[in-house]
């Protein structure tokens, strides 16, 4: 396994690469230069960045205007403020006007941990899925992130990319090639399949490895491409199992769990579905990631317990 990388750093490397290759890219930030880790870009291209101050509405409107003026505009700020404060600007200026803006939702999910719920973005996928035309990606690894950004900067039209805020390891195979819509089947198993988007991919990969040691073989699917999504491929894969568990650092309503539920229902799949995420009535607790995921049952050990229960096996005491 290669060393871990911050997805924001991958993002900035790709911005630099794009400009060096002639893309007229303009990042727009809302005082979020440190959030975006964008200093290396500014040092290389001192006259490109637009910083509008702490003002998300005009950050998004300005990006839309830059796009209409021929630029490839990218917004880079904390996902909760992009999604919530600038909601109508995302809807009208980017989606409805179909402008060539790429929105990077940084430190998404509960990446900000102890900073509490104002700083958590656990509704971004459901909000973006409500706007019909914006493409939505939630990369789970650095290489996946890199390839998604390369695709997004070439694609004409609105794109939302949800970036986790912690350094993440690589878990895609060496020959991994991103395709919009494609799902990533990382392991085949029996009876139970685990499905994740973004950073929780690592929890299900870890859970699958632990279960393998116990002789339990589970399927592992990453869904980084939320829209478009090859729902036929997803349905074909899910049809192989009796139980499906989705894991996301997101509200269970409107995110990955909902997407999978829709695919199962629309394809007449009879498997049992368990959606792990933040449930009705819950906000993510203000805590470090390990504690938070344990509390909400999103960590690999909790997922293992869920699988054992599903398989009617004796639940082993945790060490």
């Amino acid at each position: 396994m290669s060393s871990s990388e911050h997805l924001a750093s991958v993002m900035v490397e790709e911005f630099i690469r794009a400009v060096e290759q002639g893309v007229d890219l303009v990042p727009v930030v809302a005082d979020s230069t440190s959030t975006a880790k964008i200093k290396p870009f500014v040092e290389k291209f001192p006259d490109r960045l637009v910083n509008v101050g702490i003002a998300e509405q005009v950050m998004i409107g300005t990006a839309a205007g830059l796009a209409l003026g021929g630029k490839v505009a990218v917004t880079c700020n904390a996902a909760p403020f992009l999604i919530s404060r600038g909601n109508e600007q995302v809807k009208v200026d980017i989606c409805y006007n179909n402008t060539n803006v790429k929105c990077f939702g940084l430190n998404a999910g509960a990446s900000y941990g102890p900073l509490a719920s104002t700083h958590h973005s656990i509704d971004d996928i459901s909000v973006m899925r409500g706007f019909g035309n914006i493409e939505i990606y939630a990369p789970g690894t650095p290489e996946q992130c890199r390839q998604i950004i390369r695709y997004a900067l070439e694609k004409i039209g609105p794109v939302y990319i949800r970036l986790d805020g912690k350094a993440l390891p690589e878990s895609m195979p060496e020959n991994y090639r991103f395709l919009p819509g494609a799902i990533n089947v990382l392991a085949e198993g029996k009876q139970v399949v685990l499905v994740a988007m973004g950073s929780t991919l690592h929890e299900i990969v870890d859970a699958a490895a632990r279960l393998k040691e116990e002789g339990i073989s589970v399927g592992v699917i990453g869904v980084a491409s939320i829209r478009p999504c090859d729902t036929s491929a997803l349905a074909r894969e899910l049809a192989k199992y009796k139980s499906v568990i989705t894991v996301e650092e997101h509200n269970v309503n409107g995110g990955l769990g909902s997407l999978v539920a829709e695919v199962m229902a629309e394809n007449g799949l009879a498997a049992r579905l368990q959606r792990l995420g933040f449930k009705d009535g819950e906000y993510a607790i203000a805590a470090d990631r390990t504690s938070m995921r344990k509390h909400h049952g999103l960590d690999s050990e909790s997922i293992c317990s869920d699988v054992r229960q599903l398989l009617n096996r004796k639940v082993e005491a945790t060490a």
Partner: protein
């Protein structure tokens, strides 16, 4: 270059033609219309499209063309009448205003209507996008100008003032913010609902160069538009207008915010306009 470059005398005639079209357009709408708001902006929008804007119907892909953004999107009926007169689409389309799946919906939709530059309707969106266009033009070395027309009631949307800070900070003297100050909004008089005065002082405090003009007077409008200075500050034009200007029984009446003329009202309005 503006392909028409009309004299002020011809602009007055054109403005009157536009007013007549606004009356008919709204009377034929199946879904109401914003007649009062359409009428207050007539001299400004007519002067822009028939004299000031460096834009033409065959230049809609030209990145050097001037851009006009109708931020007060509810007055799109007024814009449609100007665009049709200026040849951006056939005048035969006008009777389809707000009809099912029309090319002329009740708020601007750029994917539907040639000449519409931005989808608006929710207020407070035009100025932030205009700021982005103005920054893009500066960075690309383009001489194009970006004009954005807001209402005065619209100015209570906070996004305008976020954008004002950015416009001044980046020295966007290629940006012209026009406030169609017709002093009325949906629920009544702007000064009673949420007073924005003293408006010029507010813009000046934000770092703008401010000019006030009589917005229903063609000479005043043209003189203001043609004497703007590009000296490092964004320009603001406070265009003092009358909502419903040009028709006696519509002018200055709050109930005409979202009302359309019917029956005898159409006849009377057109008679008044024929006597101008």
């Amino acid at each position: 270059m503006n392909p028409y470059n009309l004299s002020t005398a011809d602009l007055k005639k054109k403005a009157n033609d536009v007013r007549k079209r606004i009356i008919v357009l709204n009377s034929e709408s199946p879904a109401g219309g914003h007649t009062g708001a359409d009428l207050s902006q007539v001299e400004m929008v007519t002067s822009l499209y028939f004299r000031v804007l460096d834009c033409a119907p065959d230049r809609l892909e030209d990145q050097e063309r001037d851009i006009y953004i109708q931020s007060k999107g509810h007055a799109v009926g007024g814009l449609y009448c100007v665009l049709a007169e200026a040849g951006y689409f056939p005048t035969e389309w006008l009777p389809s205003y707000q009809h099912a799946d029309s090319k002329l919906p009740g708020h601007p939709v750029r994917q539907k209507t040639p000449g519409v530059e931005l989808n608006t309707g929710a207020l407070g969106h035009g100025l932030p996008v205009a700021v982005g266009l103005a920054i893009a033009a500066k960075r690309s070395g383009s001489k194009r100008k970006i004009y954005v027309l807001t209402g005065d009631g619209e100015l209570t949307e906070g996004s305008n003032w976020e954008a004002a800070l950015v416009a001044a900070h980046y020295g966007l003297d290629n940006l012209i913010i026009i406030n169609d100050k017709n002093k009325l909004q949906l629920a009544g008089y702007t000064k009673d609902i949420m007073n924005t005065d003293p408006l010029a002082e507010k813009w000046k405090a934000f770092g703008m160069q401010v000019t006030e003009c009589e917005g229903n007077d063609v000479e005043a409008v043209v003189s203001t538009l043609e004497n703007l200075k590009q000296e490092g500050k964004p320009n603001v034009i406070i265009s003092n207008t009358t909502k419903g200007a040009g028709v006696s029984f519509i002018a200055g009446r709050p109930e005409w915010h979202h009302r359309v003329p019917k029956g005898d009202e159409v006849t009377h309005a057109l008679e008044e306009l024929s006597n101008v």
